[in-house]
Symmetry: C2
Subunit: 287 residues, 2 copies
């Protein structure tokens, strides 16, 4: 069930991107934005749409799903820059700064961030109170208390004298990948004006499990299948969940977190089966 919905949601999100980005004035920036937003698993967008289905507000959720994927794409474009992670491949294709140049990559990322806020505040997302709440929470998730803080801690780790501790890596992850997962999973409740607490508990465990699975994939994965360079952290001598917990320890911790994520959904009963399946997917994926 989960894989079918993920595929259907990914197709709807891609159609949305085609429409939204196709309406921009033609320029290298618009083309680079489309390049950056093409492909990927759309897991964050799926979380928006599935949490919205859970609350009966799927009809107003598409913009928020496109928005979180735009924000995620912007973070990848900037993260891939030579002055950051310096990556040439992403989602199986050359990165934006390789396809165009660094200036286009900086600007396309900047414009994608603005686009995310334009989308969540558009009338389609519902009453003004909800649109303002979506934008406010998205800004907090994206900024120097959320995703950018995580990125900064990650950059600082590269030059730190000692490898990070488990507590430090967990804090880094909570910003770098956790903040957007949190926003995505809570979006359905926010779109409905409902309590975000159960989805927040789910998202916290899911985001951490996702990062641990990423660290495992970085060690064990196949670069061609992942569509990006692997073994980066080991090459950089950076601590990861795998280096700190060992491969088996990391697998066990990820499985525990998936159980926690599933448990957090208990208020939703069987309505949340698809989200529970999504949690099991994040630690079983190969890309």
């Amino acid at each position: 069930m989960f894989r079918d919905r993920l595929a259907a949601d990914a197709a709807r999100i891609q159609d949305g991107f085609d429409r939204v980005l196709g309406a921009l004035p033609d320029s290298d920036i618009a083309r680079a934005m489309a390049h950056a937003c093409d492909g990927g698993k759309r897991l964050r967008g799926f979380l928006v749409l599935e949490s919205a289905r859970l609350h009966g507000v799927e009809d107003r959720a598409l913009n928020a799903a496109i928005a979180i994927e735009a924000l995620h794409a912007y973070s990848l474009v900037h993260d891939d820059l030579p002055c950051m992670d310096d990556d040439d491949m992403r989602r199986g294709r050359p990165t934006v700064h390789v396809t165009w140049d660094e200036a286009v990559a900086v600007l396309a990322g900047d414009a994608l961030q603005a686009l995310a806020f334009e989308l969540v505040t558009a009338p389609e997302s519902g009453p003004a109170e909800i649109r303002a709440t979506l934008a406010s929470s998205l800004a907090q998730a994206a900024g120097a208390r959320g995703m950018v803080l995580g990125q900064a801690l990650d950059m600082a780790a590269e030059t730190a004298a000692a490898p990070l501790t488990l507590e430090q890596i967990t804090r880094l992850q909570a910003g770098k990948t956790g903040a957007l997962f949190d926003w995505a999973a809570c979006a359905g409740a926010r779109l409905a004006g409902a309590d975000i607490a159960p989805l927040r508990g789910y998202a916290r465990a899911l985001g951490l499990a996702f990062q641990i699975a990423d660290d495992i994939l970085d060690v064990e994965g196949d670069a061609a299948r992942a569509g990006k360079r692997l073994q980066k952290d080991a090459d950089a001598g950076k601590a990861t969940f795998v280096s700190l917990l060992g491969l088996e320890g990391a697998r066990a911790r990820a499985a525990e977190l998936v159980a926690e994520a599933e448990a957090a959904l208990s208020p939703y009963g069987t309505d949340a089966l698809c989200l529970r399946e999504a949690a099991r997917f994040v630690i079983a994926r190969d890309s």
Copy 2:
């Protein structure tokens, strides 16, 4: 009157930045954000506060004033990067990538954009309808139809086969500097839920006059007083309003635009004296 209010508003905006940025987790990014937001004329923030005074909603306007200055600061930090304009000095001090490094500059700019949206959607800015409208219009002004489009046209001009025409430069300017001036001047009407048309007319003429004055300053100004490198456009062989209209022609056009800007304010009568004075200031400034 204008200069006193500009100075008082600049001080309030700086206090606001100190409070908002002081509340962030301590990091190079937070310090770089503060560095980037320190100083400057605060003309965009003044336009927010003065247009709000005009509509009797100054009490809810401070966040929007800080937000537009944060967005402006982010655009300068990214614009100064080696892959963009490659500038070492800004507001009389070393730029962010010189003081820290390029990664910090990319991330601090990214976080400042998010901060701008966090500020305009915070409860202090008024009812939800107004906060959603502020965020939506700000996103449009900042993105690939507004400021980023202008930046991209500006980058493309550097490698274009022929110098830009007056029409092309005007379009570039409308994005690069005009979009934020437009948002800033209209913010007071938006905060009050009033008609933005007169302020929009004012802002369009003011923004263009500002850019022409910048081009004149680039040729005639004193780098120490301006706090940044000058004669960049001439060195790069780029067309400017001065190269297209001549120095006297550019001065005459700027004066015409100031008269247009003042005329657009006629619905406000004598209440708009300070905004009229601001329009005269933008073409008389020396930095």
